[in-house]
Symmetry: C2
């Protein structure tokens, strides 16, 4: 259904995704997708929620709080790397709100660890900013093929932020 739409935008970019093209890929007429999505905005929103939704379900509540935060950022990074086209959707359609559920869960985790609310929000914004900006920049340099050593570079920046976070926490480790 919308897996075909994700395939198109991941492989050929957002500009390649159109109702005519999508319909041809599915073997139907141009107007057939309108039965499922009332507009292109609807289609793009469904795509982002499909990729970004449910990210908060994969983390392990029994793990230490800093490991939970770190793993959540890795999962977000993996989701955006698996679907590079979604990055364009986030920027172009301002669909950043899809990350709200994940943000709320992580906020609760950090508050339980003793960080106050405004500081937790700042830290979380910094982390998500880093992850999102990282995939945007990698997409600029390697439009098609996957870049070598990319995972190492991602982990390096992530460790910078996580180290800072641990140091600012009230009860370290």
């Amino acid at each position: 259904v919308l897996a075909a739409a994700l395939d198109i935008v991941d492989r050929e970019g957002l500009s390649a995704l159109g109702f005519r093209r999508l319909a041809a890929e599915l073997g139907v007429t141009t107007m057939a997708p309108y039965s499922h999505f009332s507009s292109k905005e609807d289609l793009l929103e469904a795509m982002t929620t499909h990729v970004l939704g449910g990210l908060e379900d994969t983390l392990d509540p029994s793990a230490p709080w800093d490991a939970q935060v770190e793993q959540a950022m890795r999962d977000l990074h993996a989701a955006l790397t698996r679907h590079p086209g979604v990055v364009d959707l986030i920027v172009a359609r301002a669909e950043g709100d899809r990350l709200n559920e994940l943000r709320d869960v992580l906020l609760a985790v950090m508050r339980a660890a003793g960080l106050d609310e405004t500081e937790s929000a700042d830290v979380l914004l910094a982390l998500v900013s880093y992850v999102l900006g990282f995939v945007v920049l990698r997409r600029c340099r390697a439009p098609v093929k996957v870049r070598r050593g990319s995972e190492h570079a991602f982990e390096y920046g992530l460790s910078m932020l996580i180290d800072s976070l641990r140091r600012r926490a009230p009860q370290p480790r």
Copy 2:
């Protein structure tokens, strides 16, 4: 000339920018801009280089290395905040290469401070990723009006990264 194009994309977004609209704003015909830019891609590229080019000239070579890096990130953040539409251009047209000159200058600064080459590259990628992702996320939450307390949140995440950077440098302070 292309200040009008920047005005349109900053105020109403990338989708509002078209040759017909731009020409009407300037009081000429639809095809007149084609005399200056051979295609829309040309126009967008000229816009990004106009905003992002020359960022490396504003930093002070006599300042401490960490202050130079920090200030460069503030300048980049300010440029992207002043022209929110350019963020869309970076992602949509993959114009991340416009930051290469700034990157090279900062790489030299960090190497002079004693950091090795691959570590400097990783740090720089992390910093630029953070700045770019930050403005992308803010654009999602405040499409039009400027968000209150945004500068404080930006400085918080920036300080996390800069603190980590100072701690990893061979000769601290």
